[in-house]
């Protein structure tokens, strides 16, 4: 029987590669087909070890959002940070940093990841044109 499990180092490297390429770090179980987030080396649905990163089948929409005006442990001088959950067609919700140019993230809006700017996380989900 071959051991198909992903080692911690392999998972870290694969996640790094996904983020470096600007891809959404969603994972899917190759045994039961369940999509999941956060990344891990086993399926939280069935426990199988055969898991891999995959591209969601459609756009992400904002499920919940807030503007945190006291980020970084309550720092009053830090710039506000937009955070929220986005939902993928697979039904999985992911905690992300949002970047609405008007500073007002909206539930239901379609968003797509872009590389974050200086001081931002590597992926920032911004509204697509018209939404």
């Amino acid at each position: 029987m071959t051991d198909e499990r992903i080692t911690p180092a392999q998972l870290d490297a694969a996640l790094e590669a996904e983020l470096e390429a600007g891809r959404i770090p969603l994972m899917r179980c190759e045994a039961c087909g369940a999509a999941f987030w956060h990344p891990r080396a086993h399926c939280p649905g069935c426990g199988a070890r055969r898991v891999a990163f995959f591209a969601p089948s459609g756009p992400a929409r904002v499920y919940a959002a807030t503007v945190n005006r006291r980020p970084r442990g309550g720092d009053r001088d830090a710039a506000p940070v937009q955070v929220g959950y986005v939902e993928f067609p697979e039904g999985v919700r992911m905690l992300v940093t949002l970047g609405f140019p008007d500073g007002a993230p909206r539930i239901g809006a379609e968003v797509a990841p872009e590389a974050g700017g200086p001081g931002e996380p590597r992926l920032v989900f911004r509204p697509v044109a018209g939404d």
């Binding site: 891990r40 005006r69 955070v83 940093t97």
Partner: protein
């Protein structure tokens, strides 16, 4: 599951009177509240054979604390830590341990001095945190997400959230020990600084030093004590985790624990005379009301606006000591302080201005960790009679 007669009751209870404690150690606070609860029960350290304490998060192990207290006759120990709901879970565990014959006199204690700490406690050490892309989700930002989603799904208003704080403050004005012992107006809540949309400073609970303890004892011990007890009629605990990304922010775990605890007690939500609902933030109370079945999903906003939480006007008063929003939230964990007010209500020891007449059944619901990510849930049903 058929209802059964309670085999254990809370026969001693004590809330540390201070809200800021510059002197001493956390262990001193635990000793103070433990001895206070035992004295209230008419029992002593030598009677304790069950010890329930979670202190590892502040560097204080159950073993070291048992030694400090002088607990030499233990036959059952439990350091369950599910965040702010820990003692609510532990009281359920104590009742089970007593039912199993594993102990007869269980001491459940907690305390802390967060106002004295130089820095905030470490966070983010959870298993999945390193894979969550450094999202800056503070505790309040997480609950803000839940509040935004509730407003989006149910049309809940900013004013309705604020009414939770107003109700707590109207109770707290009768509690001279409360951290904020005065009435707060709707306008004051709405004008307080915006921290994370839509939550403002006055949507948040207080941070206090202090602690509390209860003694849960077997039926014969309760009867010999001659003290009034709050019988543990039902209890349940669960976790509502992120579930691989399939979490529903409108669920807080009480949709599981409420029905299970009510079934054990043989009552339903309509039979409850008083509720102590974990109130880390105003939104926390709305989710508890809905998930415990005190109203339909989405109906908590209008319910709160109608004054339903108020001792003076309601058939279901909530948090009559002022709750965590105004009275006490020691060690950033509200489970004990909420339990203590429920015990007062059952025993008839609440302040006369807020005492519920003929309080036969009280519910305590604890919410731990974060409703935005991984949350714990624990529900107790307490009764004036054992069955």
């Amino acid at each position: 599951m058929s209802a059964r007669s309670a085999v254990a009751g809370i026969v001693g209870a004590y809330e540390h009177p201070e809200r800021r404690i510059p002197e001493g150690t956390v262990a001193d606070i635990i000793a103070d509240v433990s001895l206070g609860a035992l004295a209230d029960a008419g029992l002593g350290i030598e009677d304790v054979d069950g010890f329930f304490f979670a202190g590892v998060h502040q560097g204080l192990s159950l073993v070291a604390m048992a030694d400090h207290l002088g607990l030499d006759r233990l036959t059952h120990v439990d350091s369950t830590d599910v965040g702010g709901a820990s003692v609510v879970s532990q009281i359920g565990h104590a009742a089970e341990a007593i039912a199993a014959g594993s102990c007869r006199v269980a001491l459940v204690a907690m305390g802390g001095r967060p106002l004295q700490a130089a820095a905030r406690p470490p966070g983010g050490a959870e298993a999945g945190a390193r894979y969550q892309q450094d999202v800056d989700l503070s505790q309040i930002a997480g609950y803000a997400l839940v509040a935004q989603r509730h407003m989006y799904e149910h049309g809940t208003t900013r004013e309705q959230l604020a009414q939770v704080k107003v109700a707590a403050s109207l109770h707290a004005q009768h509690n001279p020990r409360a951290r904020l012992p005065y009435a707060v107006t709707l306008e004051e809540v709405l004008d307080s600084p915006l921290i994370s949309d839509p939550l403002r400073r006055l949507d948040c609970c207080v941070t206090t030093d202090g602690g509390g303890a209860v003694v849960v004892a077997a039926r014969d011990v309760v009867e010999q004590s001659g003290r009034r007890a709050a019988w543990v009629r039902g209890w349940s605990e669960s976790l509502r985790t992120m579930s691989g990304g399939r979490l529903d922010l409108m669920r807080n775990g009480a949709d599981r624990t409420g029905p299970a605890a009510f079934a054990r007690a043989g009552i339903g939500p309509d039979d409850v005379d008083y509720a102590s609902l974990y109130d880390s933030f105003t939104i926390t109370v709305l989710l508890a009301l809905e998930n415990l079945g005190f109203c339909e999903p989405g109906a908590s906003g209008p319910l709160v606006e109608s004054g339903e939480l108020l001792a003076a006007r309601s058939r279901l008063p909530v948090n009559t000591d002022g709750g965590g929003l105004c009275n006490n939230h020691p060690d950033r964990r509200g489970g004990m302080a909420r339990t203590l007010e429920a015990v007062r209500q059952i025993r008839g020891d609440a302040h006369p201005e807020v005492q519920v007449a003929d309080c036969d059944h009280a519910v305590v619901h604890g919410t731990g960790h974060s409703l935005a990510t991984n949350a714990s849930a624990a529900t107790l049903v307490l009764g004036r009679e054992a069955s």
